[in-house]
């Protein structure tokens, strides 16, 4: 089951740790009253603090601290009631202060854990080392001028949570599962929107390789990978590169690299040569961050039900398969939708309709669960029409398609299109008599032992009733007619 890469000298295990930067959902920035909204006019959401004007002092945003604590609680992590802010010093054009306010030695959140579920259904716990609060930098645009970079400081000072994992990840699949699970937890908590394409969640990937049973070898950091797919590709590309270096008798050097998705390789980021000398020191502008235990408890008691708990409850309460429960609980809105229609109905059927027909209709129409192609109330009514025998399962699929098209209630569609199930045995008997009369040769074959033709007769009889007949009634009537 373990993932290994084959080299010239044998198999290699990969070792991966992830540092995820998650943009905190808050109205204002971490240390200023400027707005955080995405896509505003350049430098329109910048205070003098964010632009590092001399003498400006940071004042921390309570909600950003609350969001970090909520996230820590959601990761079953230790909350440090006293933490501290440090300055991380480096020069870059979009970092006006020449340092980033971060938490180095005393982060607000300590050790936690994330449970991941793999394709084969097995689960693993990936350790979380820490979570700390820090400022984001501004944004540079290098593509608007041949010799200039443009700088927009709107993002400068927006709160980020850096969530660091233990080097517990052993395959690209596990890295993908970890990121999806973390994103799901953040979205449930409402602490980060998890949109990697807008940059509100980005990952730095630490990769090393080793032979089975060895201690860790030197790692490289692949910076700023902005999709789960690219993280998985970058891990494999970087591991392959390191295996080649080791197998050619070389030495992997600890360095920062970039992933080039176009070419599927990582390359060295030479400008960061001195970057690891950040000369951290406590920020003299900020006192220690001291949390009131009662406030932490208040935040804990207001947490929503999280994906793992919801998944376990769905398996227990609705008796649906673990896989389905996992799919239904990735997104809180999907879980809510499912519960609306499953309550008091056949939950397994409800699950099949949501993960099958509804998801397919969402893909086709490009609509989201927040604005679904069929409302939960209408899908529930459709299940009721199946349950009380008004329509059969095959017709239900047609009704569903009409619901997607028209937005009408299922009962109205069934009435206006005359799709009500035919349970009248007289009508069914008539249809069967016609089918048998029209296929006398096949009836003879059936009677001489060709049993498979039974299915053919069922199909013809259903067709003769426009698909509306009750399949069980047709089956029974046909057996009677052929005996």
């Amino acid at each position: 089951m373990s993932y290994m890469l084959e080299g010239r000298t044998g198999s290699w295990e990969i070792v991966v740790g992830l540092e995820v930067h998650a943009q905190v959902i808050s109205k204002a920035k971490l240390f200023s009253g400027a707005a955080t909204a995405f896509g505003a006019e350049p430098n329109s959401q910048v205070s003098f603090v964010d632009a590092a004007f001399p003498g400006m002092l940071p004042v921390i945003n309570r909600e950003c601290v609350a969001q970090a604590v909520r996230t820590g609680l959601g990761l079953a992590a230790e909350i440090n009631l006293e933490s501290r802010f440090d300055r991380k010093n480096y020069f870059y054009a979009d970092l006006p202060a020449g340092y980033q306010i971060s938490q180095y030695q005393m982060p607000v959140v300590g050790r936690g854990s994330i449970e991941i579920v793999l394709e084969d259904g097995s689960t693993r716990h990936i350790g979380v080392t820490r979570l700390h609060l820090e400022q984001d930098a501004g944004k540079s645009f290098h593509d608007r001028d041949p010799v200039l970079s443009y700088i927009d400081l709107n993002r400068s000072g927006v709160a980020l949570m850096e969530i660091v994992s233990e080097p517990d990840i052993r395959s690209p699949e596990e890295a993908g599962a970890y990121l999806r699970k973390l994103r799901s937890i953040l979205r449930y908590l409402g602490t980060c929107d998890g949109n990697m394409d807008e940059g509100s969640m980005r990952a730095d990937v630490n990769v090393s390789v080793r032979k089975t049973g060895e201690p860790f070898r030197t790692r490289c950091e692949v910076k700023n990978v902005n999709s789960i797919r690219f993280v998985m590709h970058a891990i494999e590309a970087e591991a392959r590169r390191q295996i080649d270096v080791w197998e050619e008798g070389g030495e992997v050097e600890q360095e920062t690299r970039l992933y080039d998705p176009g070419r599927g390789i990582t390359r060295s980021m030479r400008s960061k040569e001195h970057a690891h000398d950040y000369r951290y020191f406590p920020d003299p502008d900020l006192l220690p961050l001291v949390l009131d235990p009662a406030w932490v408890e208040e935040l804990r008691s207001a947490l929503p039900e999280l994906p793992d708990a919801k998944r376990a409850r769905f398996i227990r309460e609705y008796a649906i398969p673990a896989y389905d429960a996992g799919v239904l609980t990735v997104d809180q809105a999907v879980a809510d939708y499912f519960e609306t229609i499953a309550k008091g109905r056949d939950a397994r059927l409800a699950s099949n309709w949501v993960t099958g027909n509804l998801f397919a209709a969402m893909n086709e129409t490009g609509r989201s669960i927040e604005n679904p192609p069929v409302s939960a109330a209408h899908l529930g009514q459709l299940l009721d029409l199946i349950a009380d025998g008004t329509i059969n399962g095959r017709i239900a699929k047609d009704v569903f398609e009409a619901m997607v098209e028209t937005g009408d209630a299922p009962a109205a569609i069934v009435e206006s299109r005359g799709l009500r199930q035919v349970t009248d045995t007289g009508a069914i008997d008539t249809a069967i008599a016609q089918v048998l009369a029209a296929n006398a040769d096949k009836v003879a074959e059936y009677k001489s032992g060709k049993d498979k033709l039974f299915g053919f007769f069922i199909g013809q009889a259903m067709k003769a009733t426009g698909g509306k007949a009750n399949p069980a009634a047709v089956n029974e009537a046909l057996r009677r007619a052929l005996s």
């Binding site: 910048v46 970079s149 006192l287």
Partner: protein, 95 residues
């Protein structure tokens, strides 16, 4: 502890300060003096004393999550050495 010239140059480079050879000699003496003083402080036995980040014994004050700043790109850019529209511009820095 005496700093060698290479370390002084490295510190200056990290701080983006250009130093002449004469300045390196002078800074070597000055920085070594500061480090010597820190070493002297290190002689104090602080075992069993929790590290202190401030002496005021105050808690970090917090602000509410309210947008009450920004919307002043012209003021932010007023002293920019170079700009295009409402962007700062710098010589191209690209990975």
């Amino acid at each position: 502890m005496a700093l060698d010239p290479a370390t002084v140059r490295r510190i200056a480079k990290l701080a983006r300060i250009r130093v002449t050879d004469e300045e390196v000699t002078r800074l070597q003496t000055e920085l070594s003096g500061i480090l010597g003083w820190i070493e002297q402080l290190n002689e104090v036995d602080v075992s069993g004393v929790a590290p202190l980040a401030g002496v005021s014994h105050q808690r970090l004050p917090m602000r509410e999550d309210v947008v009450n700043d920004g919307g002043k790109a012209d003021a932010i850019l007023a002293n920019a050495p170079a700009r295009v529209d409402h962007f700062f511009t710098v010589p191209k820095v690209v990975e």
